[in-house]
C-alpha cells in the first residue's frame, strides 16, 4: 500500500527524563482519513511537529509524501496543508488580506477554489482576523491550508475550543471537501466519539508509543465486549480469558473487553461456564478507553 506518512523508530526526548515519542512506527495510507488518537500529552502534537520539522527529532526517520522530513522540510510544507492546534494568525489582517498574503507562498494556489471555500465556510472578507469567532478562525485556517489543494492535510486537534455544533460541521465539512479528490487527511484528536463518524483508519498513541494502527472496521472487529452471567463469577476470569483488556463484575454478571477477538476467544469464554454469553460491538470511544485505560480522562 502507498503510504503518505511513514515513520521508523521516530523518537523525541525532551531533556533526559521526558520521553515524549518512543520509537514510533506509523504508516498512513494514501487516500485515507486517518485519526491519530491519544490522551492529552500522549505525543500526538509532538509527532506531527516532527513530521513537519517544526521540532527536531531525537532519533529515527520520518517520510512525508515520500520525502525526508528534515532534508525536504520546505518542499513538504509546500505540498502539505497544516492546521495546528490554536494556530495563530496575523490578527491585524482582514480575512481577505490573510488570503492574499498566504497566496504568495504557494505556486498551486487556486483562486477559484479559495473563493468557493470562503463562500462555503461563510467567511466575511473584510473582517479582521481578531474579530472572528474561534470557529471562524478555525475555518479560515482550514481555507488557508486547503486552497492550494494539498496532497495531504494534517490537522492537529482542529476542533479544540469549538462548540459541539461547529465541531461536527467542521470535521464533516473538511472530510467532504478533501475526500472529493481522493486526498489524505491525517488528524489528531482526543475527542474520540467525533472521530468515529469520519475516520476510516485509526492510530492510537499512549505515553509516546503507538499501541494500535489499523482500519477502523478492523479495529472494531478485533475488540469486543463479552457479557457473561455466572452462578459464581470465576476468580481468575481475567487470566483465563486471552486478550482481556478490562474486566468488571456486578453481582453474577461479568463484563470483559477483549482485543484480538476470534473463535478462540469465544471458546475460552465458554470454557469458563457462563450460563449466558453475549458478544457486543464497541464504539471507538469504548475501545479507546479500554486500550489507554483511563476512562475518567477520556
Amino acid at each position: 500500500m502507498d503510504n503518505v506518512i511513514e515513520t521508523r523508530d521516530l523518537t523525541k526526548r525532551f531533556g533526559r527524563k521526558n520521553l515524549a515519542v518512543d520509537s514510533l512506527a506509523l504508516r498512513v495510507p494514501r487516500g485515507s482519513v486517518f485519526a491519530f488518537l491519544g490522551r492529552n500529552g500522549a505525543g500526538k502534537t509532538t509527532t506531527i511537529r516532527m513530521l513537519l520539522h517544526l521540532l527536531d527529532k531525537t532519533a529515527g526517520t520520518a517520510r512525508v509524501l515520500g520525502l525526508d522530513s528534515v532534508k525536504n522540510a520546505l518542499e513538504i510544507k509546500r505540498r502539505v496543508g497544516f492546521v495546528g492546534e490554536g494556530q495563530m494568525m496575523y490578527d491585524w489582517m482582514t480575512v481577505g488580506e490573510m488570503i492574499w498574503f498566504c497566496k504568495g507562498f504557494y505556486q498551486g494556489w487556486n483562486d477559484a477554489f479559495a473563493a468557493e471555500l470562503k463562500t462555503k465556510l461563510e467567511l466575511p472578507g473584510k473582517t479582521k482576523v481578531r474579530a472572528l469567532s474561534r470557529g471562524q478562525q478555525a475555518k479560515l485556517a482550514l481555507l488557508l491550508a486547503m486552497a492550494y489543494r494539498p496532497e495531504l492535510l494534517i490537522l492537529d486537534e482542529p476542533t479544540t475550543g469549538l462548540d459541539v455544533v461547529v465541531r461536527r460541521n467542521f470535521l464533516e465539512g473538511v472530510i467532504e471537501l478533501i475526500q472529493e479528490e481522493g486526498r489524505t487527511v491525517f488528524f489528531s484528536s482526543h475527542i474520540v466519539h467525533e472521530v468515529e463518524r469520519v475516520a476510516d483508519w485509526v492510530g492510537i498513541i499512549d505515553n509516546g508509543r503507538l499501541i494500535q494502527c489499523s482500519p477502523l472496521e478492523e479495529l472494531k472487529a478485533k475488540v469486543k465486549r463479552l457479557v457473561m452471567t455466572f452462578e459464581t463469577v470465576p476468580a481468575d476470569l481475567a487470566k483465563r480469558l486471552p486478550g482481556a483488556l478490562l474486566v468488571s463484575e456486578a453481582g453474577r454478571q461479568a463484563t470483559a473487553i477483549v482485543s484480538d477477538f476470534s473463535e478462540d476467544t469465544l471458546a475460552a469464554a465458554r470454557a469458563l461456564g457462563p450460563s449466558r454469553l453475549e458478544v457486543e460491538d464497541l464504539s471507538l470511544e469504548d475501545i479507546f478507553v479500554a486500550l489507554v485505560g483511563h476512562p475518567e480522562e477520556a
Partner: protein
Amino acid sequence: MEATRMRHPIEQDRFPTYRLWGRLLWKEWREGRPILAVGVALPLLTLPMSKREGMTGFDYSVMGLVGILLVLWAADRARRIGMDRGQVRQALPIPAPARWIFMHLVPLLVPALIGVAVGVMMIAWHPESVAFKATLMAAIFYLLSTFLLVTALTPSLSMIPAVIAGILWLFVGLDLVRWENVTPQFMKVILLSLVASLLWEAFSRAGWVWTGRAVVIVLLLTAFVTPDAVRSLLPHRDPSQPPSYSIDSISTEDHLISVEFSSPESLGRSMLSYNDRRDNFEHGREFPYFTRPLGFIAEDRVLLGRQAPDKRDIHLSVWNARTDEVREEGGLMAMKGLLAAAGSSELSPDGHYLLLVKPKKELYPNSPQFWGNLWMADLKRGRAVPVMANVLLLAWENPPAAWTLDRLYLSGYGIQVDLRTMRGSYLTPAHFGRTP
C-alpha cells in the same frame, strides 16, 4: 517504503521568490508603518525651530516620546514574533534565509530609521560642536539597543516588565547619545540582546522554554545592569561620595558667565551664558559635555576646561564671548573627574595658575560648610596637583584669593600656597615688634 506520488506544480516550475519576498515586505511595512511615520516625523518636525539656542525641554520631550513609542512597538513586535512562529514558521513554506531576514533583520530598519531622524535632530541643534557621523551612529545604535532589549525581554518576562526595562534603559541611555560615551556599553547591550533573541528562538524551538528564559535573563542582566546604570537609577546620593558643588557660574564686577546644563546627570550639553553688565550684552553658546568656565582671562575672554569623568586630561580653550570665537589652548593632566567634582575655581591674574576646590564631605548633613581639598593647576606646565587636604570651607563663596608672584593667600581661611613648591599651609601668627 518509497512512496510513488503525484507530480506537483512546484516541482515543475521555479517558485517565484519575488512574490514571497513581496508578501513578507508588505507585512513588515504594515506592522511598522505607523511607528515609522510618527517616529521619523516627530524629530524632523522640530527642525524648523533649530535656530533657537540650545535644546529645550520640548526637544527632549520629543526625543523621549519617540523612544517610548519605539519601546511600546518593540514589545508589540516581540509579541507578533509569536504570531510569526504560529504562521510564518509553522504553516508557510518560507526558506530559512528569508525567514531569518524577515523575522530578525527587517524589523531593525524601523529603529534604525528613527535613529537617523533623532540624530539629524540633534545635529541640527549643535551644528558647530557635534561630530556629524558619531552623533548619527550613536542615535541609531541607541534606539537599536532599546529595540533589541525590549524584543529579547518580552518573550521571557512578558510585555509590561519589558516595557518598564526599555523605558529605564531610555532614561539611562539618553544621557549617553554621544558616540565617545556609549561605544562599549552600547555594543555590549546590542550584541547581548541580539544573542539573547537568537538563543531564545533556539531554546523555544527545542522546547526548553525555562532554560531559554534563564539564559535570556542572565545575558541581559550582564548587559544591562552595570554599576554605572544602577548608580544612575538610584535616587539618593551615595554618602561616601563627595557632595556636588559643580561650578555653575563665575563673575567679575562687570561680567557673569553661568552654566545652564552642566551636570553630568542632565540631558544634553553644557550651555554657557555670558552677560556683560556694562552694555547688557548677552550671548549663549553650547559646548561639549563637561565643559566648565574656569575664569576670566580678559573682559570678554573666558578660560574653559573640559574633562570626561573617566579621563585624566583636561582640555582647555578660550572663548571670546563677544566675537563667539573659541580657541583651543592645549590641556593639562589631573586626577580623573577633578573638573566634574570641583566646586569652584580661581584663575591667577597672569593666567598661569588655577586654583580648584574639590569638596569631599559636608561638615554635617546639609551644612553650608564642607571639608575639601585644594588643587593647584600650573597651566603653563600642564599639570595639576593637590596642594592641601581637608580644608574647612564655605559652600556659598569662592575662597577670597589674593595672588602674588609666588604665593596665593586665601584670606579669611588663613591659608597660603607656595606656587614654587606647590604646597599649601596655614599661616602662622606674625610676631610683630619682637626682636630675637
